[in-house]
Symmetry: C2
């Protein structure tokens, strides 16, 4: 290769306090790119897949993407992964904001945390340097307080802080890692993993521009985006942002309502983007380098549901989870719940969902008033929702169980309560009902991280010719109806879920409608490679399959790739009322997707030949029982010198 | 899709004389592009795969690629296909020159000839018009004479003529279709197929520029190539052209010598590019729009081996076939043999190879002097070579058998003579010995058209980092040794043979080192699509698999995907002396390649899931026994209106 584009990995042994750095070779970077690719690389080689996710053998991997920190729109994202305390498999989440860019500007591609610190600590990373600092005085504090204290003691207001709140400290499996007070790596319980390591926070500050092979080209593309994004699919995010989906999904008949029992919510107007703009929105925030400004800042001066602007405002997912899903038509409540989750470090989707499950169980008599410590846990009871967030963060009463997430709550309740959970791999569905988009259902059924809207086809636009433009370069040139599950639809789902993985590997925000070609151009400009959509596709498929392989090694199987019973029931009202996803058809589509993906129909693992096709035979060796240390000893040429 | 990019197919029923036109829809064009894609499309849907290739049910499909006729370098190629009289399977060849561009400029994407004409005819195509004209007066004539007569009677010196010579008329299975007197669609016996239809020639003339979505971009790319090709891999073709391979392959120890018994030829200097330049080269010809000028024109005023410049000059393949392969160290002979083949319409590779096999059989006593009609058929006997070309074209004596090709010659000889043939699927190897490039061996073993150097990895450059630049965008980022057959090499072979198919689908000459990105740009500029390397890769894989599927339906199987015994023997001298391709390793690599390609290990056919992945489930229907007419009735949306 003409250019060398390497990476730097900071390795932090929390048990010993030792910090070391390693270089990712150019070949390694080209093969794995970042995000899931690097997380999978470390997980498969270093973490015993059967280990206790909250024990010392698990690792917390903080990583960037190829584009993270580049001075242009949509390059603000980073990813955090490890074995998931929630799903027991491949865990990972990603978020925007400023932390990822700051990490890159501090000189690091990724940080691997291993072991468990004897006492609470935080990591301070700045300009190629890093040190562990005591954090006993921060333990137990909420996010805003913690961030202020860290900035104070480091004497720099521009330090970017990733942290856990009290929920993560208490190992809540729905705990998140919160950044900049309002950007969450929410899913798969990464907050609990961080808490288990007694790592309170990661503070970063960096002033060096990340290496770029062709800075002029990057500037040019950045300028193009600033000038043109309003003519692309990104435009909607600059107007009604994610909250526009409240109305859209309600119109389609699939706004998750009262724990997915319904798809139309009578109070949806009060949760809508338009209402949010009129009533509580005081400004618009953005991520590193981004002109879209899709983050709506909220301020509410109210005795009962106050909101401070520092904590941002709720996205669609949060609004759905605490709004329609819990039967609540009050955006003061969704905004306040959002603040509490950000302050306590709780995943808003997981929190709202576990409350909705508890509500349904309460209404059905499976949960008693005694068990709720006196709360009248019916849909629409806003005060109960707020109260349960507090209790979950503190692990008080029922909150102690809610902290474990819906699936474990149902186990605790017993009496067949699992039929009211809406999870895949123990992770709750985001606010996208598969009943109005069957392809989405297929995608989340197989997503390595469980029900995960970041890794599926959740846009109904692909049903129309215009909406196809984005995916035509992936070879999907004919629109298909939302309820289709033919081989052609399976193929469409495959193309989309693999390609979408690229955004994770690169750190490009999916709200940025860069075309396939522009993504190729961006990556070439940064790396100096002459890559192609084909090579990037392979890298995406590679990372996706590494995550699947880790799941197999961790004990997950084909039985875990299924939709929850709830969404196999018909919806009572709305555009798809009475319609069901035909079980046999869905099962066949799943089998088809397995085959198209190159997964074994029995073990659900990627086949050796697929892994060889993806140039990662060492993953097949692991699946066939070879020990990770032996595989590492034989690692291929290009990776041989990756770690000194 | 934003733009409509359609195609026009001219259908010529030779039995009835009826001519009709049909439109290829935009979706169809995007799915199949051209070349093998359109040939496979017509073959699979219209030709009974078990039919007699020389009977009325077979069709002759003349087609262009997406780029054919565009005013820039390397867009001069077209392809001709049908069920092969030589292999019995998918038959197709391609060539450069001016015919393809002229066809496009006459307003046609392709021509499908069906039936058999009661009397010899030729087709005259010009500016959207077409007519069949009598050709009794041309029947039996050699190429130069025929072309002159056609131009005379059409009154236009710029008419481009594709024609068969006496060999094709006499159904020689190694007959070619010759264009511009010196560009041959040489392989798989397309000349015999054309002869069986009593179609002597196709004359075309067109003045309309083919449709181009972005003519300025095409001009820009064309200019870039003219200005820069000498800095690319194309440079070598502008200096020593294909003949440089005489010296290269001899140095590598794999210049096919005396019927592949040896890999080093003592007389190679006399066949070398340098010698050819010094002794007989009088000028340099080129193809439509191309600045490289790789075609060396030869003139020899000699009583015994005269050559007229109209017939061009021999390429490397021809020089190897009539030179080292027959033990002849005289470039007058190779040049004269080239002229004879072009005049008679014979494939130079097939002709030289069948003579070499006959020579070895003669030397080994399997062929008697009686059978050779008195010729002393030993290696190095130039006069015998020349004489046999005449006799083959006339089907006289031994020539009657030679016209059938090596495999059938060996059957006729009996006594185990097949062990001296060097064929795959009855087609002779081109002048690339797999023993110096194992990956090439793998590629030709599975090529749907039999041993075909156009569809394999025949460049040893991929063993070095520099040589990889071209294929890095295909995800092949580490060099591998020539004798490697590991899964990584299998993967490299797969990437290359699939991607190389794109040149066929587009009509881009493989001597043009357009990068992967430039090919994407070129196709977008012509079509107005926003395609990607990924989509083009899929189109290539699609076409490749359609060809494989036709083979299965025609009765070919995994047993036909094998290297000839001769190349499994060690070479006696040179750089790889004594080295053998390990049989088990090669067999394993083949199994691996099947799996990676998505082919059934038993039937050798593409699996249904692979065909669904490639968006052509109708091909799987055919393989599962559905009748072509039923499949056509159910054809998908986008193709529904392809034919009125």
């Amino acid at each position: 290769m003409a250019e060398e584009f390497t990476g730097v990995c900071l390795r932090v042994n929390l048990t010993t306090g030792q910090l070391t750095t390693e270089t990712y070779s150019s070949i390694l970077m080209r093969r794995y790119l970042g995000g899931w690719g690097l997380i999978g690389y470390h997980l498969l080689r270093e973490v015993p897949p059967q280990c206790d996710p909250l024990g010392p053998e698990n690792k917390l991997i903080v990583t960037s993407g190829i584009m993270t920190g580049q001075p242009l729109a949509g390059g603000g994202r980073h990813m955090i992964g490890g074995k998931s305390p929630l799903t027991g498999g491949f865990g990972a989440g990603e978020c925007g904001g400023f932390f990822g860019a700051e990490l890159k500007r501090a000189g690091f591609t990724s940080i691997v945390f291993e072991g468990i610190s004897p006492t609470p600590v935080y990591l301070w990373v700045h300009d190629g340097q890093a040190e562990l600092r005591p954090a006993e005085h921060l333990w137990g504090h909420e996010a805003l307080e913690t961030e202020q204290q860290i900035r104070d003691e480091l004497g720099d207001r521009l330090v970017r802080v990733a942290q856990i709140g009290p929920a993560g400290e208490r190992l809540a499996r729905i705990a998140n890692i919160i950044h900049d007070l309002n950007r969450a790596v929410g899913r798969t319980g990464m907050g609990a993993l961080m808490g288990s390591k007694r790592l309170k926070a990661i503070a970063v500050r960096g002033k060096q521009r990340p290496s770029t092979a062709d800075p002029e080209r990057i500037s040019e593309l950045g300028k193009w985006f600033r000038d043109h994004y309003k003519e692309t699919g990104s435009a909607v995010f600059s107007t009604l942002a994610t909250l526009r989906m409240v109305r859209n999904n309600n119109n389609f008949g699939g706004l998750p309502t009262r724990n997915f029992q319904e798809g139309v919510f009578e109070g949806f107007e009060k949760l809508s983007a338009e209402h949010q703009l009129e009533t509580v929105t005081v400004g618009r925030d953005t991520c590193f380098g981004c002109p879209i400004r899709c983050k709506w800042v909220v301020k509410i001066e109210d005795d009962k549901y106050p909101v401070r602007p520092e904590y941002g405002g709720p996205e669609y997912e949060t609004t759905g989870s605490f709004g329609s899903l819990c039967g609540i038509d009050n955006n003061y409540v969704t905004c306040h719940a959002n603040e509490l989750c950000n302050a306590y470090g709780l995943d808003t989707i997981g929190m709202g969902s576990v409350i909705a499950v508890a509500m349904e169980c309460y209404e059905r008599g499976l949960l008693t008033r005694e068990q709720t410590d006196g709360l009248e846990l019916v849909f629409g009871n806003a005060d109960a929702v707020i109260e349960l967030i507090h209790r979950t963060a503190r692990r008080e009463g029922l909150g102690h169980v809610l902290a474990e997430g819906s699936a474990r709550l149902a186990e605790w309740i017993g009496q067949g309560a699992e039929r009211y959970t809406v999870t895949i791999k123990k992770q709750d569905l985001a606010m996208h009902d598969p009943r109005i988009k069957y392809g989405h259902g297929l995608g989340i059924a197989v997503s390595p991280t469980g029900a995960d809207h970041m890794h599926s086809l959740h846009d109904n636009a692909y049903q129309t010719v215009g909406g196809l433009a984005e995916i035509e370069p992936l070879g999907v040139i004919e629109p298909l109806p939302f309820d289709d599950l033919s081989p052609a639809k399976v193929r469409m789902v495959r193309q989309v879920i693999i390609w979408r993985t690229l955004d994770n590997l690169t750190g490009i925000c999916m709200f940025h409608s860069w075309t396939v070609q522009q993504k190729v151009d961006l990556i070439n400009a940064v790396t100096g490679w002459s890559t192609s959509a084909l090579e990037l596709w392979q890298a995406s498929e590679r990372a996706y399959n590494m995550a699947r392989a880790f799941n197999t090694l961790a004990g997950l199987s084909a039985a875990d790739d299924r939709l929850p019973e709830r969404v196999m029931e018909p919806l009572p009202e709305g555009a798809v009322a009475g319609k069901v996803i035909p079980r046999e058809v869905f099962a066949e589509a799943l089998v088809k997707l397995y085959a198209m993906m190159g997964w074994d129909p029995v073990t659900a693992a990627p086949t050796r030949i697929k892994l060889e096709e993806l140039d990662i035979p060492w993953v097949a060796d692991l699946l066939e029982g070879k020990k990770a240390q032996d595989v590492m000893r034989e690692r291929p040429e290009g990776e041989g010198d990756a770690f000194g």
